[in-house]
Amino acid sequence: MIATTVRQYSTLAIPVANGLLYGVCPHPLECGLGLTIGGGLVFPEVNFTLPAMNIDEGTWADVVAHYEDIAEHILRRAVSLGVQGIVLEFELLPPMTERPEWGAEITALLKQHLKATHEKHHLPCALRVTPTDIRDQLKPPLMRTGQAWERLKRSLEMCAEAGADILSIESIGGKEIHDQALMYGDFQGIVFALGVLAPRDMTWLWGQIHDICAAHPGVACGSDSACGFANTAMQLAHQKMLPEVLAAVVRAMSAVRSLAAFEQGAVGPSKDCAYEGPVIKAITGFPISMEGKSASCAHFSPLGNISAAMCDLWSNESVQNVRLLSGNAPEVFTELLAYDCRLMNTAAASEGGALQMRNWMVASDEWLSPQAAVLSPDATIKIATAIVSADTPYHRTLAAGRAAVEILKGGIDRELLHISRKEQQWLTRIDDALSTMPEDEETLQHDLEAQYGSLYDKPGYGM
């Protein structure tokens, strides 16, 4: 089955930078138990995972007990702090997607806790559920057929039936090429993965997810994340393994594949780890989740404050259920997020407060790293405009890359962005590569066939 595009974006829902504010968007999402996301307030989105332990039949009771403990303590602290709404995100671990009934059982458990809290305390809340994309078990991965896809699809269906309010995924289409191309700094390979393979998979996959959500009234067709692409690049750049300018350009280009979900009917909120979210918000007008300083439990980012500037949900990414002095880590990070959100919402309650607060958050980070430089509201509008001005995902990806390069060069020229000589050489190299890319994706595919042809399953990408 070939998915039919629901919509094709050619204009921006938010055309000016000062229209990009946290907590508000043109198309707020009503979901879950009385929660409206993007309707004026920022809410915490709390994510959590297990401590080091096996997941198997023998430990399953312990696994369930952990999630009981996590939900109970998060919601208790949220109520204590008077949060005005909350989202719990349950990211399934691979064995829970392999056995869809396991993921569904935890989904039902978490939803039960949310219902009980909503009934007792009238707390608006929702449950986002994110099965693991397990299609990369085989080399090359089978994207549209086979046991892994069948289990993933069943997991999505069963989680929807079990009480998910929002379905999401961090899909991996194109990653089998992107990983290698990124490591070798092969810009053509990176573009092929991000601009050709990934959008093809996203279009197909999100057609499937849209159908599943449509069959389960009340389940929002959430969104995807370029985590496996752009966050991989960002982390490797942080470790000085890749140029930061390359990671920043990859970030901008990754927005195109994430946009494909919305063109198939996704309504957000975008995934927390999708730092390309502001571009998605500018184009689609749907709400976004972001993570930054309060996700340092999970990973480093140079985006601690700026990432909050345009968010509608504010997340901690992931934290293990381990004991800290004031409680277990998930409830501790609930408190951090609650205070972050309270401050943002308090600022927004005063005239011009949201814009002032946003501008402070942007200014604190914007020119301290290439990654932050492409995430400011001004940069977001430039990248988003470049994307909707082009026609195909391939051309959009190139346009986003060029916009990112221009933003970085502009920052250097104005002596705002300071990068090493080596980074500057890489920026020139990327600029040159962008200017010599083939005109069409078929030529690019042909040019790369000898290098990458054996690494991906062409029918799985509709080729």
Partner: protein
């Protein structure tokens, strides 16, 4: 004099075609394989490693240099085997059972290979019995395991236990790594070493083997 400046430069610049051609030319001129390795290839990779440590090179330059080195080794390996010379230290590597996150493992594998080690990459989601079989068959000196998820870390211990049960544990050094892995965890499960990142992993392998 078996040093080939052309081969050295080709590896340093990550140019596999030039490395291959320079090796062919050096062999035709009478250079011995071990001399080329010792006097051109290893010094080139050492310089690549130095540039990486100095943050002058990123991983792409490192891997391209490794690829250039392999293109030269492809020519030398049959000659060395034919003359009964030992190739190099052998490393078996993989992500543990249940873990599909292989990018870190791939970097370590490539850096080890670029540093002259023979790497047997078992891929991702590798069951303990597959590690055991590889150790039995390939007889490596080193086994490297990687995990990115807290819930797959226990498979590292399972694999070490499987090596012990098979009577192979004393025959290999076991190194572990991955985002949630710590030195303390390595000690707890009886691994021989832990590395926080890929370049340190190469140094750890060298130190464990006392390879210069």
């Amino acid at each position: 004099m078996a040093q080939s400046i052309e081969l050295y430069d080709a590896i340093l610049n990550g140019d596999a075609k030039k490395a291959h051609a320079a090796t062919e030319a050096a062999l035709a001129a009478g250079a011995l394989p071990m001399q080329l390795i010792a006097e051109s290839m290893v010094p080139a990779m050492d310089e690549v490693g130095r540039l990486f440590e100095a943050e002058e090179y990123f991983v792409p330059e490192l891997l391209l240099a490794g690829r250039a080195m392999r293109s030269a080794l492809d020519l030398l390996r049959p000659l060395m085997v034919a003359s009964g010379q030992k190739m190099s230290t052998r490393v078996v590597i993989g992500t543990v059972k249940g873990d599909l996150h292989d990018i870190g493992k791939n970097i370590v594998a490539s850096m080890l290979e670029g540093s002259g080690f023979e790497v047997i990459d078992l891929g991702s989601d590798v069951a303990p019995e597959k590690f055991v079989a590889a150790v039995e068959e390939k007889k490596p000196q080193i086994v490297c395991m990687s995990a990115l998820l807290t819930v797959t870390m226990p498979a590292m211990k399972t694999t070490i236990d499987a090596l012990t049960t098979a009577g192979l544990r004393t025959k290999v050094k076991v190194l572990i790594g991955g985002a949630p892995v710590t030195m303390q965890y390595a000690k707890e499960i009886g691994a021989d070493g832990y590395s926080e990142n890929a370049s340190a992993a190469v140094g750890l392998v060298r130190s464990l083997l006392a390879v210069a």
